[in-house]
Symmetry: C2
Subunit: 211 residues, 2 copies
Amino acid sequence: MEATEIRQHFPTFEKELVDDIEEKSEVRSFTAGEQLMRTGQYFKSTMLIVEGLVKVYREDDQGNEFFMYYLQPGQACALSMVCAVKQETSQIMAKAVKDTEVISIPLAYMDEWMGKYKSWYHFVLETYRSRFEELLVTIDHIAFQAMDERLEFYLKKHVQTLGSKIIPISHQEIADELNSSREVISRLLKKMEQLGKVKLQRNSIEVIHLS
Amino acid sequence: MEATEIRQHFPTFEKELVDDIEEKSEVRSFTAGEQLMRTGQYFKSTMLIVEGLVKVYREDDQGNEFFMYYLQPGQACALSMVCAVKQETSQIMAKAVKDTEVISIPLAYMDEWMGKYKSWYHFVLETYRSRFEELLVTIDHIAFQAMDERLEFYLKKHVQTLGSKIIPISHQEIADELNSSREVISRLLKKMEQLGKVKLQRNSIEVIHLS
DNA sequence: GGAACAATGTGACAAAAGTCATAGACCAGG
DNA sequence: CCTGGTCTATGACTTTTGTCACATTGTTCC
Protein backbone atom coordinates (compact mmCIF):
# COMPACT_ATOMS: atom_id res chain seq x y z
CA MET A 1 0.00 0.00 0.00
CA GLU A 2 1.41 3.40 -0.93
CA ALA A 3 1.98 5.97 1.74
CA THR A 4 0.07 8.66 -0.12
CA GLU A 5 -3.00 6.50 -0.31
CA ILE A 6 -2.84 5.66 3.37
CA ARG A 7 -2.45 9.30 4.29
CA GLN A 8 -5.40 10.23 2.13
CA HIS A 9 -7.81 7.98 4.03
CA PHE A 10 -6.22 8.27 7.45
CA PRO A 11 -5.04 11.87 7.62
CA THR A 12 -4.49 11.88 11.37
CA PHE A 13 -1.78 9.22 11.24
CA GLU A 14 1.72 10.55 11.85
CA LYS A 15 4.47 9.97 9.30
CA GLU A 16 6.25 7.17 11.15
CA LEU A 17 3.00 5.29 11.61
CA VAL A 18 2.20 5.55 7.91
CA ASP A 19 5.68 4.21 7.13
CA ASP A 20 5.15 1.35 9.55
CA ILE A 21 1.80 0.51 8.00
CA GLU A 22 3.25 0.69 4.53
CA GLU A 23 5.97 -1.72 5.51
CA LYS A 24 4.14 -4.19 7.71
CA SER A 25 0.59 -4.38 6.49
CA GLU A 26 -0.90 -6.36 3.69
CA VAL A 27 -3.59 -5.25 1.29
CA ARG A 28 -6.52 -7.53 0.74
CA SER A 29 -9.27 -7.16 -1.82
CA PHE A 30 -12.84 -8.38 -1.76
CA THR A 31 -15.34 -8.32 -4.56
CA ALA A 32 -18.88 -7.07 -4.02
CA GLY A 33 -20.91 -9.65 -2.12
CA GLU A 34 -17.92 -11.40 -0.60
CA GLN A 35 -17.72 -11.93 3.14
CA LEU A 36 -14.87 -10.27 5.03
CA MET A 37 -15.73 -11.92 8.27
CA ARG A 38 -17.85 -14.82 9.31
CA THR A 39 -19.64 -15.71 12.49
CA GLY A 40 -17.40 -17.57 14.88
CA GLN A 41 -14.18 -16.73 13.12
CA TYR A 42 -10.94 -15.95 14.92
CA PHE A 43 -9.01 -12.83 14.05
CA LYS A 44 -5.30 -12.71 13.51
CA SER A 45 -5.37 -9.19 12.18
CA THR A 46 -7.40 -6.04 12.19
CA MET A 47 -8.72 -4.37 9.07
CA LEU A 48 -8.80 -0.76 7.94
CA ILE A 49 -11.09 0.06 5.04
CA VAL A 50 -9.32 1.90 2.23
CA GLU A 51 -11.73 1.56 -0.63
CA GLY A 52 -15.29 0.38 -1.12
CA LEU A 53 -18.09 -0.22 1.35
CA VAL A 54 -18.73 -2.87 3.97
CA LYS A 55 -21.98 -3.79 5.67
CA VAL A 56 -21.79 -5.21 9.17
CA TYR A 57 -24.47 -7.57 10.47
CA ARG A 58 -25.32 -9.21 13.71
CA GLU A 59 -26.28 -12.85 13.44
CA ASP A 60 -28.11 -14.89 16.03
CA ASP A 61 -28.11 -18.66 16.57
CA GLN A 62 -31.08 -19.23 14.27
CA GLY A 63 -29.44 -17.46 11.37
CA ASN A 64 -31.41 -14.24 11.64
CA GLU A 65 -29.26 -11.44 10.45
CA PHE A 66 -29.63 -7.90 11.50
CA PHE A 67 -28.04 -4.85 9.87
CA MET A 68 -25.92 -2.83 12.28
CA TYR A 69 -23.85 -0.31 10.37
CA TYR A 70 -21.70 0.48 7.38
CA LEU A 71 -17.93 0.73 7.34
CA GLN A 72 -16.45 3.23 4.93
CA PRO A 73 -12.93 4.15 3.82
CA GLY A 74 -11.06 5.63 6.76
CA GLN A 75 -12.87 3.41 9.23
CA ALA A 76 -11.99 0.17 10.93
CA CYS A 77 -13.87 -2.74 12.35
CA ALA A 78 -14.00 -2.25 16.11
CA LEU A 79 -14.76 -5.87 16.72
CA SER A 80 -11.83 -7.22 14.79
CA MET A 81 -9.65 -5.04 17.01
CA VAL A 82 -11.26 -5.95 20.24
CA CYS A 83 -11.47 -9.64 19.49
CA ALA A 84 -7.98 -9.75 18.12
CA VAL A 85 -6.53 -8.63 21.42
CA LYS A 86 -8.33 -11.28 23.40
CA GLN A 87 -8.29 -13.93 20.70
CA GLU A 88 -12.01 -14.40 20.94
CA THR A 89 -14.73 -14.89 18.39
CA SER A 90 -17.84 -12.92 17.80
CA GLN A 91 -21.29 -13.31 16.26
CA ILE A 92 -20.58 -10.77 13.59
CA MET A 93 -20.76 -10.97 9.84
CA ALA A 94 -19.32 -8.41 7.44
CA LYS A 95 -19.99 -8.29 3.74
CA ALA A 96 -18.53 -6.14 0.97
CA VAL A 97 -21.26 -4.11 -0.70
CA LYS A 98 -18.97 -2.67 -3.33
CA ASP A 99 -15.59 -4.01 -4.35
CA THR A 100 -13.47 -3.32 -1.33
CA GLU A 101 -9.84 -2.92 -0.36
CA VAL A 102 -8.63 -3.23 3.19
CA ILE A 103 -5.32 -2.91 4.96
CA SER A 104 -4.77 -5.97 7.08
CA ILE A 105 -2.63 -5.30 10.12
CA PRO A 106 -1.23 -8.21 12.13
CA LEU A 107 -2.29 -8.31 15.72
CA ALA A 108 1.22 -7.87 17.07
CA TYR A 109 1.70 -4.44 15.50
CA MET A 110 -1.72 -3.25 16.48
CA ASP A 111 -0.68 -3.79 20.10
CA GLU A 112 2.78 -2.36 19.73
CA TRP A 113 1.59 0.82 18.02
CA MET A 114 -0.87 1.59 20.80
CA GLY A 115 2.04 2.62 22.95
CA LYS A 116 4.20 3.97 20.16
CA TYR A 117 1.91 6.25 18.18
CA LYS A 118 -0.48 8.67 19.79
CA SER A 119 -2.47 8.94 16.58
CA TRP A 120 -2.95 5.18 16.41
CA TYR A 121 -4.03 5.06 20.02
CA HIS A 122 -6.63 7.73 19.40
CA PHE A 123 -7.76 6.13 16.18
CA VAL A 124 -8.41 2.83 17.92
CA LEU A 125 -10.27 4.41 20.81
CA GLU A 126 -12.27 6.61 18.46
CA THR A 127 -13.19 3.51 16.49
CA TYR A 128 -14.52 1.86 19.63
CA ARG A 129 -16.36 4.94 20.66
CA SER A 130 -18.05 5.57 17.35
CA ARG A 131 -19.11 1.96 16.85
CA PHE A 132 -20.38 1.88 20.42
CA GLU A 133 -22.45 4.97 19.73
CA GLU A 134 -23.79 3.45 16.52
CA LEU A 135 -24.95 0.45 18.47
CA LEU A 136 -26.69 2.68 20.99
CA VAL A 137 -28.50 4.48 18.19
CA THR A 138 -29.48 1.12 16.75
CA ILE A 139 -30.86 0.07 20.11
CA ASP A 140 -32.84 3.28 20.36
CA HIS A 141 -34.44 2.60 17.05
CA ILE A 142 -35.41 -0.99 17.69
CA ALA A 143 -36.55 -0.26 21.20
CA PHE A 144 -38.39 3.01 20.78
CA GLN A 145 -39.49 3.34 17.19
CA ALA A 146 -42.18 1.80 15.04
CA MET A 147 -41.49 0.09 11.73
CA ASP A 148 -42.35 3.09 9.55
CA GLU A 149 -39.87 5.32 11.36
CA ARG A 150 -37.22 2.64 11.27
CA LEU A 151 -37.77 2.17 7.57
CA GLU A 152 -37.39 5.88 6.91
CA PHE A 153 -34.20 5.95 8.94
CA TYR A 154 -32.91 2.93 7.09
CA LEU A 155 -33.49 4.59 3.74
CA LYS A 156 -31.99 7.85 4.91
CA LYS A 157 -28.86 6.11 6.10
CA HIS A 158 -28.48 4.26 2.84
CA VAL A 159 -28.86 7.40 0.75
CA GLN A 160 -26.26 9.08 2.92
CA THR A 161 -23.80 6.22 2.75
CA LEU A 162 -24.25 5.32 -0.88
CA GLY A 163 -24.21 8.96 -1.91
CA SER A 164 -27.12 8.32 -4.23
CA LYS A 165 -30.86 8.83 -4.03
CA ILE A 166 -31.42 5.49 -5.68
CA ILE A 167 -31.03 2.47 -3.44
CA PRO A 168 -30.65 -0.79 -5.32
CA ILE A 169 -32.39 -3.23 -3.02
CA SER A 170 -35.45 -5.45 -2.88
CA HIS A 171 -38.24 -5.27 -0.33
CA GLN A 172 -37.31 -8.72 0.90
CA GLU A 173 -33.74 -7.67 1.67
CA ILE A 174 -34.93 -4.65 3.64
CA ALA A 175 -37.34 -6.86 5.55
CA ASP A 176 -34.53 -9.24 6.48
CA GLU A 177 -32.25 -6.47 7.65
CA LEU A 178 -34.93 -4.81 9.74
CA ASN A 179 -36.11 -8.18 10.96
CA SER A 180 -39.59 -7.69 9.56
CA SER A 181 -41.51 -9.33 6.71
CA ARG A 182 -41.71 -8.49 3.04
CA GLU A 183 -45.40 -7.64 3.04
CA VAL A 184 -45.04 -5.16 5.86
CA ILE A 185 -42.19 -3.38 4.12
CA SER A 186 -44.06 -3.36 0.82
CA ARG A 187 -47.10 -1.83 2.47
CA LEU A 188 -45.11 0.85 4.24
CA LEU A 189 -43.17 1.70 1.09
CA LYS A 190 -46.41 1.97 -0.85
CA LYS A 191 -47.73 4.38 1.75
CA MET A 192 -44.54 6.40 1.50
CA GLU A 193 -44.88 6.49 -2.27
CA GLN A 194 -48.41 7.84 -1.97
CA LEU A 195 -47.04 10.56 0.29
CA GLY A 196 -44.47 11.40 -2.36
CA LYS A 197 -41.54 10.41 -0.18
CA VAL A 198 -40.17 7.72 -2.47
CA LYS A 199 -40.61 6.29 -5.92
CA LEU A 200 -40.66 2.53 -6.26
CA GLN A 201 -39.08 0.57 -9.05
CA ARG A 202 -38.35 -3.07 -9.36
CA ASN A 203 -35.25 -3.83 -7.30
CA SER A 204 -34.64 -0.23 -6.37
CA ILE A 205 -36.09 2.63 -4.43
CA GLU A 206 -35.66 6.24 -5.35
CA VAL A 207 -35.80 8.51 -2.37
CA ILE A 208 -37.51 11.82 -3.14
CA HIS A 209 -37.86 13.51 0.18
CA LEU A 210 -37.65 12.23 3.74
CA SER A 211 -38.72 14.28 6.73
CA MET B 1 -7.99 3.26 48.58
CA GLU B 2 -5.87 0.54 50.08
CA ALA B 3 -3.72 -1.58 47.80
CA THR B 4 -5.08 -4.85 49.17
CA GLU B 5 -8.62 -3.85 48.38
CA ILE B 6 -7.70 -2.82 44.86
CA ARG B 7 -5.86 -6.08 44.28
CA GLN B 8 -8.82 -8.04 45.54
CA HIS B 9 -11.20 -6.64 42.93
CA PHE B 10 -8.67 -6.22 40.13
CA PRO B 11 -6.37 -9.19 40.50
CA THR B 12 -4.78 -8.83 37.08
CA PHE B 13 -3.27 -5.43 37.86
CA GLU B 14 0.49 -5.47 38.33
CA LYS B 15 2.01 -4.14 41.51
CA GLU B 16 3.22 -0.82 40.12
CA LEU B 17 -0.19 -0.10 38.66
CA VAL B 18 -1.90 -0.79 41.97
CA ASP B 19 0.54 1.58 43.64
CA ASP B 20 -0.16 4.21 41.04
CA ILE B 21 -3.89 3.80 41.51
CA GLU B 22 -3.55 3.96 45.26
CA GLU B 23 -1.63 7.15 44.98
CA LYS B 24 -3.44 8.99 42.24
CA SER B 25 -7.06 7.93 42.37
CA GLU B 26 -9.86 9.13 44.51
CA VAL B 27 -12.59 7.05 46.09
CA ARG B 28 -16.14 8.20 45.63
CA SER B 29 -19.23 6.82 47.33
CA PHE B 30 -22.80 6.78 46.18
CA THR B 31 -25.85 5.77 48.15
CA ALA B 32 -28.45 3.45 46.66
CA GLY B 33 -30.57 5.28 44.14
CA GLU B 34 -28.03 8.01 43.45
CA GLN B 35 -26.93 8.76 39.91
CA LEU B 36 -23.28 8.22 39.00
CA MET B 37 -23.66 9.66 35.57
CA ARG B 38 -26.22 11.77 33.83
CA THR B 39 -27.22 12.16 30.22
CA GLY B 40 -25.13 14.77 28.47
CA GLN B 41 -22.47 14.97 31.13
CA TYR B 42 -18.78 15.41 30.38
CA PHE B 43 -16.28 13.05 31.94
CA LYS B 44 -13.07 14.16 33.55
CA SER B 45 -12.35 10.74 34.98
CA THR B 46 -13.14 7.10 34.54
CA MET B 47 -14.66 4.92 37.22
CA LEU B 48 -13.85 1.43 38.46
CA ILE B 49 -16.47 -0.25 40.61
CA VAL B 50 -15.09 -1.53 43.90
CA GLU B 51 -18.19 -2.15 45.93
CA GLY B 52 -21.92 -2.25 45.30
CA LEU B 53 -23.94 -2.48 42.11
CA VAL B 54 -24.64 -0.06 39.28
CA LYS B 55 -27.36 -0.16 36.66
CA VAL B 56 -26.63 1.40 33.29
CA TYR B 57 -29.43 2.82 31.17
CA ARG B 58 -29.78 4.25 27.72
CA GLU B 59 -31.92 7.37 27.53
CA ASP B 60 -33.46 8.82 24.42
CA ASP B 61 -34.52 12.42 23.74
CA GLN B 62 -38.05 11.90 25.04
CA GLY B 63 -36.85 10.60 28.38
CA ASN B 64 -37.49 6.93 27.68
CA GLU B 65 -35.00 4.94 29.61
CA PHE B 66 -33.86 1.52 28.68
CA PHE B 67 -31.93 -0.92 30.84
CA MET B 68 -28.66 -2.04 29.25
CA TYR B 69 -26.53 -3.84 31.80
CA TYR B 70 -25.22 -4.04 35.32
CA LEU B 71 -21.76 -3.04 36.48
CA GLN B 72 -20.29 -5.01 39.34
CA PRO B 73 -17.15 -4.77 41.46
CA GLY B 74 -14.12 -5.39 39.26
CA GLN B 75 -15.75 -3.78 36.26
CA ALA B 76 -15.55 -0.36 34.72
CA CYS B 77 -17.78 1.85 32.67
CA ALA B 78 -16.64 1.52 29.08
CA LEU B 79 -18.34 4.70 28.07
CA SER B 80 -16.73 6.85 30.69
CA MET B 81 -13.40 5.64 29.34
CA VAL B 82 -14.21 6.13 25.73
CA CYS B 83 -15.84 9.49 26.17
CA ALA B 84 -13.15 10.69 28.49
CA VAL B 85 -10.51 10.29 25.83
CA LYS B 86 -12.42 12.29 23.27
CA GLN B 87 -14.05 14.66 25.73
CA GLU B 88 -17.48 13.88 24.40
CA THR B 89 -20.83 13.34 26.03
CA SER B 90 -23.14 10.41 25.81
CA GLN B 91 -26.79 9.55 26.28
CA ILE B 92 -26.08 7.24 29.14
CA MET B 93 -27.42 7.18 32.67
CA ALA B 94 -25.97 5.14 35.51
CA LYS B 95 -27.62 4.63 38.86
CA ALA B 96 -26.39 2.93 42.01
CA VAL B 97 -28.66 0.02 42.96
CA LYS B 98 -26.88 -0.69 46.22
CA ASP B 99 -24.58 1.63 48.09
CA THR B 100 -21.58 1.83 45.84
CA GLU B 101 -17.91 2.71 45.99
CA VAL B 102 -15.90 3.59 42.92
CA ILE B 103 -12.31 4.48 42.19
CA SER B 104 -12.21 7.64 40.19
CA ILE B 105 -9.18 7.88 37.93
CA PRO B 106 -8.32 11.19 36.28
CA LEU B 107 -8.28 11.12 32.51
CA ALA B 108 -4.59 11.96 32.28
CA TYR B 109 -3.48 8.81 34.08
CA MET B 110 -5.86 6.59 32.22
CA ASP B 111 -4.06 7.63 29.04
CA GLU B 112 -0.58 7.42 30.46
CA TRP B 113 -1.10 3.94 31.90
CA MET B 114 -2.23 2.53 28.59
CA GLY B 115 1.35 2.68 27.41
CA LYS B 116 2.92 1.98 30.77
CA TYR B 117 1.04 -1.04 32.12
CA LYS B 118 0.17 -4.04 30.01
CA SER B 119 -2.46 -5.14 32.51
CA TRP B 120 -4.19 -1.77 32.35
CA TYR B 121 -4.16 -1.83 28.58
CA HIS B 122 -5.78 -5.24 28.56
CA PHE B 123 -8.25 -4.29 31.22
CA VAL B 124 -9.42 -1.31 29.21
CA LEU B 125 -9.74 -3.29 25.99
CA GLU B 126 -11.48 -6.13 27.77
CA THR B 127 -13.91 -3.62 29.23
CA TYR B 128 -14.75 -2.37 25.77
CA ARG B 129 -15.08 -5.84 24.42
CA SER B 130 -17.35 -7.15 27.12
CA ARG B 131 -19.64 -4.12 27.09
CA PHE B 132 -19.77 -4.29 23.31
CA GLU B 133 -20.82 -7.93 23.53
CA GLU B 134 -23.45 -7.09 26.11
CA LEU B 135 -24.91 -4.54 23.76
CA LEU B 136 -25.02 -7.09 20.97
CA VAL B 137 -26.90 -9.50 23.20
CA THR B 138 -29.28 -6.71 24.11
CA ILE B 139 -29.89 -6.00 20.44
CA ASP B 140 -30.56 -9.68 19.80
CA HIS B 141 -33.19 -9.68 22.47
CA ILE B 142 -35.02 -6.57 21.39
CA ALA B 143 -34.81 -7.46 17.73
CA PHE B 144 -35.53 -11.17 17.75
CA GLN B 145 -37.46 -11.99 20.89
CA ALA B 146 -41.02 -11.48 22.08
CA MET B 147 -41.90 -9.78 25.33
CA ASP B 148 -42.38 -12.98 27.33
CA GLU B 149 -38.89 -14.21 26.50
CA ARG B 150 -37.35 -10.84 27.18
CA LEU B 151 -39.11 -10.73 30.53
CA GLU B 152 -37.78 -14.14 31.50
CA PHE B 153 -34.28 -13.09 30.51
CA TYR B 154 -34.65 -9.89 32.47
CA LEU B 155 -35.63 -11.78 35.60
CA LYS B 156 -32.89 -14.34 35.13
CA LYS B 157 -30.27 -11.63 34.79
CA HIS B 158 -31.50 -9.88 37.91
CA VAL B 159 -31.46 -13.06 39.97
CA GLN B 160 -27.94 -13.75 38.80
CA THR B 161 -26.68 -10.26 39.49
CA LEU B 162 -28.46 -9.67 42.76
CA GLY B 163 -27.57 -13.14 44.00
CA SER B 164 -31.09 -13.54 45.33
CA LYS B 165 -34.25 -15.22 44.07
CA ILE B 166 -36.30 -12.30 45.28
CA ILE B 167 -36.22 -9.25 43.07
CA PRO B 168 -37.50 -6.11 44.77
CA ILE B 169 -39.13 -4.27 41.91
CA SER B 170 -42.58 -3.15 40.75
CA HIS B 171 -44.25 -4.14 37.49
CA GLN B 172 -44.14 -0.53 36.39
CA GLU B 173 -40.37 -0.36 36.76
CA ILE B 174 -39.89 -3.50 34.71
CA ALA B 175 -42.19 -2.12 32.04
CA ASP B 176 -40.15 1.07 31.86
CA GLU B 177 -36.87 -0.79 31.58
CA LEU B 178 -38.15 -3.12 28.88
CA ASN B 179 -39.93 -0.25 27.19
CA SER B 180 -43.33 -1.88 27.52
CA SER B 181 -46.42 -1.07 29.57
CA ARG B 182 -47.39 -2.10 33.04
CA GLU B 183 -50.47 -4.07 32.02
CA VAL B 184 -48.49 -6.19 29.59
CA ILE B 185 -45.87 -7.02 32.18
CA SER B 186 -48.52 -7.78 34.81
CA ARG B 187 -50.31 -10.15 32.44
CA LEU B 188 -47.12 -11.97 31.49
CA LEU B 189 -46.04 -12.26 35.10
CA LYS B 190 -49.45 -13.64 36.04
CA LYS B 191 -49.10 -16.24 33.31
CA MET B 192 -45.65 -17.15 34.60
CA GLU B 193 -47.06 -17.46 38.10
CA GLN B 194 -49.71 -19.88 36.87
CA LEU B 195 -46.94 -21.91 35.28
CA GLY B 196 -45.16 -21.99 38.64
CA LYS B 197 -42.19 -20.01 37.37
CA VAL B 198 -42.50 -17.12 39.79
CA LYS B 199 -44.37 -16.03 42.86
CA LEU B 200 -45.71 -12.50 42.93
CA GLN B 201 -45.74 -10.25 45.93
CA ARG B 202 -46.33 -6.56 46.21
CA ASN B 203 -43.16 -4.77 45.10
CA SER B 204 -41.21 -7.94 44.63
CA ILE B 205 -41.02 -11.05 42.54
CA GLU B 206 -39.78 -14.37 43.78
CA VAL B 207 -38.27 -16.44 41.02
CA ILE B 208 -38.99 -20.15 41.47
CA HIS B 209 -37.76 -21.73 38.29
CA LEU B 210 -36.93 -20.31 34.88
CA SER B 211 -36.37 -22.49 31.85
C1' DG C 1 -43.21 -15.04 -27.94
C1' DG C 2 -43.64 -18.04 -24.05
C1' DA C 3 -41.94 -20.57 -19.92
C1' DA C 4 -39.89 -20.00 -15.58
C1' DC C 5 -38.75 -17.26 -12.05
C1' DA C 6 -38.24 -13.26 -9.05
C1' DA C 7 -40.35 -9.13 -7.25
C1' DT C 8 -44.27 -6.78 -5.92
C1' DG C 9 -49.36 -5.85 -4.69
C1' DT C 10 -53.31 -6.84 -1.90
C1' DG C 11 -57.03 -8.65 0.88
C1' DA C 12 -58.18 -11.47 4.81
C1' DC C 13 -57.02 -12.96 8.99
C1' DA C 14 -54.24 -13.98 13.44
C1' DA C 15 -51.32 -12.70 17.13
C1' DA C 16 -48.94 -9.57 20.01
C1' DA C 17 -48.72 -5.54 22.28
C1' DG C 18 -50.47 -1.11 23.75
C1' DT C 19 -54.44 1.64 25.70
C1' DC C 20 -58.44 2.67 28.47
C1' DA C 21 -61.44 2.11 32.18
C1' DT C 22 -62.37 0.40 36.43
C1' DA C 23 -61.92 -2.10 40.64
C1' DG C 24 -59.72 -4.25 44.34
C1' DA C 25 -55.68 -4.93 47.45
C1' DC C 26 -52.24 -3.22 50.29
C1' DC C 27 -49.77 0.20 52.97
C1' DA C 28 -48.44 4.36 55.69
C1' DG C 29 -49.70 8.36 58.36
C1' DG C 30 -52.66 10.74 60.96
C1' DC D 1 -59.43 2.56 61.75
C1' DC D 2 -60.16 5.66 58.12
C1' DT D 3 -57.97 7.89 54.07
C1' DG D 4 -55.21 8.81 50.29
C1' DG D 5 -51.78 6.89 47.59
C1' DT D 6 -49.50 3.17 45.26
C1' DC D 7 -49.58 -1.26 43.28
C1' DT D 8 -51.89 -4.93 40.97
C1' DA D 9 -55.80 -7.36 38.30
C1' DT D 10 -58.68 -7.65 34.49
C1' DG D 11 -61.90 -7.10 30.57
C1' DA D 12 -62.69 -4.64 26.31
C1' DC D 13 -60.90 -2.55 22.61
C1' DT D 14 -57.43 -0.59 19.03
C1' DT D 15 -53.27 -0.65 16.58
C1' DT D 16 -49.39 -2.69 14.75
C1' DT D 17 -47.19 -6.32 12.90
C1' DG D 18 -46.86 -10.87 11.05
C1' DT D 19 -48.84 -14.65 8.11
C1' DC D 20 -51.19 -16.81 4.33
C1' DA D 21 -53.03 -17.09 -0.14
C1' DC D 22 -53.06 -15.64 -4.47
C1' DA D 23 -52.80 -12.25 -8.27
C1' DT D 24 -49.96 -9.38 -11.07
C1' DT D 25 -46.00 -7.58 -13.15
C1' DG D 26 -41.23 -7.61 -14.78
C1' DT D 27 -37.03 -10.18 -16.46
C1' DT D 28 -34.39 -13.63 -18.47
C1' DC D 29 -33.38 -16.99 -21.44
C1' DC D 30 -34.38 -20.17 -24.81
